[in-house]
Symmetry: D2
Subunit: 420 residues, 4 copies
Amino acid sequence: MLRLASRHLQSASVVNKAPVRGFATAFNWEDPLAASELYTEEELAIQDTARQYCQEQLQPRVLEAYRNEDYDRKILEEMGELGLLGASIEGYGCAGVSTVASGLITKEVERVDSGYRSGMSVQSSLAMTAIHDFGSQELKDRLLPGLAKGKLAGCFGLTEPNHGSDPGSMETVAREHPTKKGYFLLSGAKTWITNSPISDILIVWAKLESTGKIRGFAVERDQCPPGTLETPAIKNKTALRASITGMIQLDDCPVPVENMFPEVEGLTGPFTCLNSARLGIAFGAMGALEDCLDRARTYALERKQFKGNPLAKYQLVQKKLADAATDAAYGTLAATQVARLKDAGKSTPEMISMIKRQNCDRALANSRILQEVFGGNATSDEYHIGRHVANLFVVQTYEGQSDIHGLILGRAITGVQAFV
Amino acid sequence: MLRLASRHLQSASVVNKAPVRGFATAFNWEDPLAASELYTEEELAIQDTARQYCQEQLQPRVLEAYRNEDYDRKILEEMGELGLLGASIEGYGCAGVSTVASGLITKEVERVDSGYRSGMSVQSSLAMTAIHDFGSQELKDRLLPGLAKGKLAGCFGLTEPNHGSDPGSMETVAREHPTKKGYFLLSGAKTWITNSPISDILIVWAKLESTGKIRGFAVERDQCPPGTLETPAIKNKTALRASITGMIQLDDCPVPVENMFPEVEGLTGPFTCLNSARLGIAFGAMGALEDCLDRARTYALERKQFKGNPLAKYQLVQKKLADAATDAAYGTLAATQVARLKDAGKSTPEMISMIKRQNCDRALANSRILQEVFGGNATSDEYHIGRHVANLFVVQTYEGQSDIHGLILGRAITGVQAFV
Amino acid sequence: MLRLASRHLQSASVVNKAPVRGFATAFNWEDPLAASELYTEEELAIQDTARQYCQEQLQPRVLEAYRNEDYDRKILEEMGELGLLGASIEGYGCAGVSTVASGLITKEVERVDSGYRSGMSVQSSLAMTAIHDFGSQELKDRLLPGLAKGKLAGCFGLTEPNHGSDPGSMETVAREHPTKKGYFLLSGAKTWITNSPISDILIVWAKLESTGKIRGFAVERDQCPPGTLETPAIKNKTALRASITGMIQLDDCPVPVENMFPEVEGLTGPFTCLNSARLGIAFGAMGALEDCLDRARTYALERKQFKGNPLAKYQLVQKKLADAATDAAYGTLAATQVARLKDAGKSTPEMISMIKRQNCDRALANSRILQEVFGGNATSDEYHIGRHVANLFVVQTYEGQSDIHGLILGRAITGVQAFV
Amino acid sequence: MLRLASRHLQSASVVNKAPVRGFATAFNWEDPLAASELYTEEELAIQDTARQYCQEQLQPRVLEAYRNEDYDRKILEEMGELGLLGASIEGYGCAGVSTVASGLITKEVERVDSGYRSGMSVQSSLAMTAIHDFGSQELKDRLLPGLAKGKLAGCFGLTEPNHGSDPGSMETVAREHPTKKGYFLLSGAKTWITNSPISDILIVWAKLESTGKIRGFAVERDQCPPGTLETPAIKNKTALRASITGMIQLDDCPVPVENMFPEVEGLTGPFTCLNSARLGIAFGAMGALEDCLDRARTYALERKQFKGNPLAKYQLVQKKLADAATDAAYGTLAATQVARLKDAGKSTPEMISMIKRQNCDRALANSRILQEVFGGNATSDEYHIGRHVANLFVVQTYEGQSDIHGLILGRAITGVQAFV
């Protein structure tokens, strides 16, 4: 169960943010198309809880974290404490909320920082979803509660140095242990893996040597002999610096057969998890965009140029704000629709490609345009806009670059593939 | 009541268009985000009826109509017969359907042609809404049934030659008849008035000489003495050629006080009507865009270039299709949301500005990009794409040009106006 | 020799257009980057002559011509009289001017209408260049003088109904006459051929049956037996309606071997001609864009909205004008550079792909944005902007659609082809 | 005189970059429109020298400099040694090269990093130009040689915390010293001043208390009493981190009247300097863009995805490369044209607004699109693209944000101002 913040408390703390939720006689620029009308009271309360936590606990940390590439491991525990991890999973100590509620949590975290959202998404949508959907009952019972609480950290190893958009060509291999029965030896390298340096549980996708088929493994770090698993951090990133990213290097790392996902084979497994994460990204990117809009609007109202007029008075500035508000509103509606369809068993992967692509594209494009409102001051990280802009480029790129999702949609529309 | 087509019949006639409406296991490129899940069975049936009529009765006429600028007056009667006119009005022989259903009708008509939709919108959202919302009971009883049936044609005179985006500066004036008590004399000129040359009932907005306030009048052509009302057609239009457009020239035209809307004053009256029409346009533009997408997709699958590959095989073509499908899906969701909010009494004019602007902008931009798929063949009017492209420019422009709606949104977001 | 207009006359007639050509102390919005500084006195004089003819003789005819799809055959003679046809060819009654001068002529004609420019380009760059570069001396002596004078009209048959961007797959065939020695029989169909219905000399590219190689033929209409050559006009075009376009239908049409271009084989021949035409288009499109800018600027200065301000006072309008002026200036410089390189023997086809693509793309995009300045009035053809917008789509598309030239450039940059 | 690198040496060191400079039979993707044909042998040699220095001496330092916000003061001396500082100035130990040559130097520096170019531009175009154009002969003789050698570092204080785009509203004031005759006291704050923390000579623009007019002062740090001049560095910048930026805080700082520029008053002075710098930026931004293109092209050729195809094989990738190459070529031609006009005394400030705006806009837009080619790897700073993207946003913004230059152009085109 998700621990809800008291509505009273919330209203007090972010009072000037609270959208009007009753009879909408007035236009609310923060929710221009009244998406909140589509949410249940419980979903709105969950969003409030998440927003309160994010604004009060994450926002004050993000500047230093980003400057120093210093992710605070405690955040996972805090999120776990509030029930934000694996929130849409039933049981195992998870909150079991709707996909919409889960998306709204994601949106609130990314309103602060895409890196913080990435850390949460990897834990929830990738690692926990993989174990929940594909792991044995024993694995679920043993690992999910710790992951849900944030006591254990998880990551998801799919991408390899030479295989980004085309994971089917992966080179990581799992072969039967030549001597130790019931064990596989995993070898290979994964890269750009959020959370890998701090992860206790590493979901690794590898080709089974005997079949050539891709299988999933839950690698437990504390079970790996020295020298078989390394997870060096990647430093000097140009974005997502408030999250921690690394490689996974496996050198004949022994993993018991019980930790292999028993049923799923091929790319179905990773793609299921990615679809869950991508749906979250579609919500999350709208949170980042809304924060950019909020900050640009505030700046435009406070900054005076030319005879004391606020920037907000200028047509060219208003156009930027109007465009961004429109895309944020449209993207939120679309993500909400697909989340509802998912809970009704009616979503398809192509829908998720569509909203992941479009919401990321629009968030990125608009954040860049809003950045112009700040003029030279955007160069100061204290205005936060530069961080969002840099982050959103990666968000557009990871879990399916915009062009790749475009070709997925193109194939779905025409029946003809154009990848090669 | 709306006369529904048999679902069976419909399915037969446009069988390969019918979206999957049950459990959506498969992606449907014609409704990528399953907006149909948001509609009631009745609303879907109304859409089917409208589509059947439009595809069977309007589509075959549009090419010649557009070539020759020849609007068939009988279309209004056909629409009236089916209950498509003033469809969301209760009583007076109107269908009394939901705003969503009304929007879906609009979408089906504009799927054929924006001009046909313009003719219907002017009749329904502008002329009938004006009389219904602001006219005396006597006017409603006397005029609405004929307009609903299409026996009477209506138009809406707001725009003047020198006052487009700024109707508050209108010059048309209504002064008390110097001798004939209970009459006003209207003088002035309106331009770009859809339907004016064929209209029996002309809604005219004019400034009352005595107060300087804008008032609305239902001018009945058959009551106007010779020489007091002229409605010359505007010919050689570059777009919307399947609709008829003209001026309204009033020269001391006598109108009885009973034909003045009794309560409404200022721009509230015309803006109420325009909001209704703009909501329809937000749906309609998505219909035109969907038709462009459908045609471009078909062309891309059939046209072979370079070693026999269909154009649909090329990445640059797939991107165009994917972008258009995305914008059509997003725009349809947004229009549906605002229509639902309207029926719940929760919509605001700014919401309508947002969806009118965005859906028109995206329909226009995507139609132009899809036009590229046809190469030189787009120059043949038989591919229909050039007609949609030309039409959609006007659709983006009328009833609030994109920039104007952007400034309305900018004002709503910032609280500062930037019009002057 | 080109017949120059008196500079005095010219200055008088278009006085408010004349760019400042001395010491440029003031910014000239019509030539913002002072491209005129790159031209010789003779080139400027030729431009003046062309502009005077175009503004005085073509501009008054274009509205009716476009409305009625009625190309005045006499225009070719008028152009021939002034020396505008095949202007860069030496001898044969041609003016023998520089490629820059030839480009400036093209720009002036397209300032009026892309269709008029198309008619001239086909005559000059395609038909005359083909004969000049590839025909036998006898053909040149016999045909070029008449074409130069506009007494003969020419066209260029390359595109076929099923082969637009990929002419190498053409199906038109030339086989040796089974009985009449020294003759070929041509069979096949060409489409979208500017001037074909009025042409006396039709350049036709066909595959030689015996070799499978593409060869060029100068088909003389008056030598074709009845039924072997038909050139039906294509009507109801959505653009370029002031030019005449048609098909070429050949049914065992006998052509003497002397009319086959003796040396050139494969696509070298047509591509040489196309490169010449494309260079002209790169200039021409800038002329059309400049006319759009000029008209939008005038409209924006004259049209008042909101408290009597001219549209020109609004930031959103100024941005449109500034963007268009910039692209026109950049495109003119680039075309001038390539023209100079051509005369120095240093141009390459990829350069021409670059400027044809970019100048057409930018002319089209900006003309559409400038169209917004006119609001609803753009729908009146008397403002001319809608005509330019419609034309420029075709100009972007023909002689290499933008994406095709993009792939030509991509191949040149990477060394890898991506056409299939 | 500029110290030229031996052409031989240069050719050896960057051999695979050398554009073909003879008869251009082949397309050169690095100089697609053969701008090099417009340059003299001397100018090309200067470019070679600059490129050699930049690639050999600056490129290896930039990664660490950017990571650590650590500008190496020695760079100015190295540049001075080569004659790159104030290169277009005659005398005073400056090279006295053409404006084109100066622009080519700028382009080569920014090919490495916009921050390095900023440091050089501030020294050359702002500080040295100010002294050269407006300082007394004594000031020139005393300060220019040291600045030219890079022994002295200079900066330019115009922008204030509350006055960015509108410097005319500056608050910094110069009042006559109440007791010390022949001295002014300067008070106020300047911000976002490149080089200020390391500058020996600080050009400061302030309003003369007695007249209210803006005047310029050369403040010599070693003459300022303690506490009257502070130049704290601004840290944690989101871009241009390889340059050093700071504030200038003046608190009754005494400056002798001889250090005030004697003749110039108002914004003429700063704008003259800014025009010089902006012209350099127009070249420089093209250098950064060309580097992005070069890196993206190389990455696309080396990176294989989907059946072993290089990314360069994909249409969507080729389009990105083609677009960028086109904009780089066009922008280089335009900058060259204005530089030539400047040397001929025929340039205007609006021309410079046009090329500064357009080249920065296009460099930024294309760099962002090219960043997509790198996918997730763009997040590694070792690919350099993220740095260029972040830098180019600031380059677009400083010395006149894109919208401001757009309004300058709009005013020049229409004669109507739209700033307020």
